[in-house]
C-alpha cells in the first residue's frame, strides 16, 4: 500500500470509527462506511489538511469511495 493510501485509511478509521479491514478501495463512504453528508465534508477537509491541498467542491462531489480519494490525492498532492 502506498504511503498516501495508508494515511487516507488512518483518517477514515479515526473519523468514521470503522475497522481498518472495512476500508477497502471499493468501500463507499456513505453506503459502506456509515458516513452521512457532514461526515463526508469532514473527511474531505481532513484530506486537505493532511496532504496540504485544496479540493474544490465540484471535485469533492466525485470522491465517493476510498479508492476515489486515494487516486485524487495521488494526482493532486504536491
Amino acid at each position: 500500500m502506498s504511503d498516501i493510501a495508508s494515511r487516507v485509511k488512518a483518517i477514515i478509521v479515526d473519523k468514521l470509527g470503522v475497522d481498518e479491514t472495512e476500508v477497502t478501495p471499493e468501500a463507499s463512504f456513505t453506503n459502506d462506511l456509515g458516513a452521512d453528508s457532514l461526515d463526508t465534508v469532514e473527511l474531505i477537509m481532513e484530506f486537505e489538511k493532511e496532504f496540504n491541498i485544496a479540493i474544490p467542491d465540484d471535485q469533492a462531489e466525485n470522491i465517493g469511495t476510498v479508492g476515489d480519494a486515494v487516486s485524487y490525492i495521488e494526482e493532486n498532492a504536491k
Binding site: 470509527g17 457532514l38 469532514e42
Partner: protein
C-alpha cells in the same frame, strides 16, 4: 378550562455530587460538597482555580468513538442523565404514540467548549476557514433536545429553552403546560451545562460573579453567609420525565410527585444584578402559587436560587418574606448549590430533583458551609444550616433566576390521587 394533571415518573442526573439519583440523594442528605481544584484545564492563571466538576466521567463508557466527536460535553451530560431517567420511568416505547412524546431541554450556553476550540483553531491558522462541519450542530444550545429525540424516537414538540440560570426551570414549566393542554402526553425535560473551561470560567470571572476564595475552595459555596464572595461553577445535567396523570396511571407507573404550578417573570432591571427588593422573584413565586392554586401556607420547603453571591442572596430572602409573610418563618429554606455549585442552565433541573427527593424522603437537604450570620438576612428564617432536617413536606417550591432578569419558580406537590 380544566387542565390535565402532570406527574413526574422518572429522574436522572449526573452532577458534581452524584453520577446517579441514588448517589445524588445520599450526598444531599449528608451535606457533602462537590468542590475541588479544576482538573478540566490548567487554571493556574485564572482568578478562580476551583469548581464543582463532575467526577469519574468517561465519555467512552457511554458513547462510541464516532458518536462522541459530534457531542459537546453539555450534550453528553444530557444523554447520560436522560438514559437514567428513561430506564427509571420504564416507558414502553413500542406501545407509545411517539408523536405525543416531546423533548424540551434547557441550557444556558450550550456548547461553549466547541465554540472555543473551533474559534481558537481559526485564530491560530492563516485565515483559511477550516471550521468543522460539526461546529454549529455541536455547539447550538438546542442540539441536546435534538439528540435526545433521535435516541428515543420522540416526535412531539421539541426545542431548547435559553434563559441563563433559569433555562431548565423554563423547560420544566413549558413541558408541564403542554401536557396540561393536551399537546403531548410525555416529555423528557430538564437541562445540562458544561462550561468549566477557559472561556466559561474566564468570562464569569471577569463579571466578578465567581468566588475567588481559592484557599477555602471546599467551603466557598456558602449561600447566605456573611463571608460569601460569589458562586462556584458547577456542571452536569438533570432529567425529569413528565407525564399526564391518566397516562401514567394506566401503565402503572411509579409517581414521584405532581407538578402543580409554574411562575415566570422578568426583573426588567439590570443585566446581571437582581432587583434589590426581589421584584421579579416575588412576581414569579406569586404566579407559581396562583397557577398551582395553593396558598403560601401550603408550601413547606423552598429550594432557593441562593447562589452565594453578595448581591443575589439578600433580595431572594426578602422576596420570600414578602410572598410568604409570617409563614416564611415556618418554612424550610435551603440552597443545595452549597453542595453542587451552580449548574447554570442545568440548575433548575437538579434542584427540581432535589425538591422532589426531599419530599419523597421527608427530609430537607441542608445549606452547608455557612459560617457567619449576615445581618442583612433575617435570622428567624430557617435556612436549614449545616445538617438535613426531617419534616413533612406537602409541597416544595424551586426558584431559579438568570442573568438578564429571567425568573422561574416551579411547585411540586406530594402525590395523592
Amino acid at each position: 378550562m380544566e387542565f390535565r394533571r402532570v406527574v413526574v415518573t422518572g429522574l436522572g442526573t449526573i452532577n458534581p455530587i452524584g453520577n446517579s439519583i441514588a448517589e445524588y440523594w445520599e450526598n444531599l442528605e449528608n451535606g457533602v460538597g462537590g468542590a475541588g481544584m479544576i482538573t478540566h484545564f490548567d487554571a493556574s492563571k485564572f482568578k478562580t482555580q476551583f469548581a464543582c466538576e463532575v467526577k469519574n466521567f468517561d465519555a467512552k463508557e457511554h458513547f462510541d468513538r464516532k458518536e462522541v466527536r459530534k457531542l459537546d460535553l453539555y450534550t453528553q451530560y444530557a444523554l447520560v442523565a436522560v438514559k437514567e431517567a428513561m430506564a427509571d420511568c420504564d416507558l414502553d416505547l413500542e406501545s407509545e404514540d411517539l408523536t405525543k412524546a416531546g423533548v424540551i431541554w434547557g441550557s444556558g450556553i450550550g456548547g461553549i467548549k466547541t465554540f472555543l476550540d473551533e474559534v481558537k483553531g481559526y485564530a491560530n491558522g492563516d485565515g483559511t476557514p477550516r471550521f468543522s462541519p460539526f461546529f454549529i450542530p455541536k455547539m447550538i444550545s438546542d442540539i441536546a433536545a435534538g439528540h435526545i429525540s433521535m435516541k428515543y424516537g420522540f416526535q412531539g414538540p421539541n426545542y431548547g429553552t435559553v434563559s441563563a440560570c433559569a433555562s431548565s426551570s423554563h423547560a420544566i414549566i413549558d413541558a408541564m403546560n403542554y401536557i396540561r393542554l393536551g399537546k403531548a402526553d410525555v416529555f423528557i425535560t430538564g437541562g445540562s451545562e458544561a462550561s468549566v473551561n477557559e472561556a466559561g470560567l474566564g468570562g464569569f470571572n471577569s463579571m466578578q460573579a465567581l468566588s475567588t476564595n481559592n484557599e477555602e475552595f471546599e467551603t466557598a459555596s456558602r449561600p447566605f453567609c456573611k463571608t460569601r464572595d460569589g458562586f462556584v461553577m458547577g456542571e452536569g445535567a438533570g432529567c425529569l420525565i413528565l407525564e399526564e396523570y391518566e397516562h401514567a396511571k394506566a401503565r402503572g407507573a411509579k409517581i414521584y410527585a405532581e407538578v402543580v404550578g409554574g411562575g415566570m417573570s422578568g426583573d426588567a432591571y439590570h443585566l446581571t444584578a437582581t432587583h434589590p427588593e426581589g421584584r421579579g422573584a416575588i412576581n414569579s413565586m406569586n404566579m407559581a402559587l396562583n397557577d398551582a392554586d395553593l396558598k403560601p401556607e401550603d408550601i413547606d420547603y423552598i429550594n432557593v436560587h441562593g447562589t452565594s453571591t453578595p448581591v443575589g442572596d439578600i433580595p431572594e430572602t426578602k422576596a420570600v418574606q414578602t410572598v410568604f409573610g409570617e409563614h416564611a418563618y415556618k418554612l424550610n429554606i435551603s440552597s443545595t448549590k452549597s453542595m453542587t455549585g451552580h449548574l447554570l442552565g442545568a440548575a433548575g433541573s437538579v434542584e427540581a430533583i432535589a425538591s422532589i427527593l426531599a419530599m419523597n424522603n421527608q427530609t430537607v437537604p441542608p445549606t452547608i458551609n455557612h459560617k457567619e450570620q449576615d445581618p442583612q438576612i433575617d435570622e428567624r428564617l430557617n435556612l436549614t444550616l449545616h445538617k438535613a432536617q426531617k419534616r413533612e413536606i406537602r409541597a416544595a417550591l424551586s426558584n431559579t433566576f438568570g442573568f438578564g432578569g429571567h425568573n422561574a419558580s416551579v411547585i411540586f406537590k406530594s402525590f395523592s390521587e
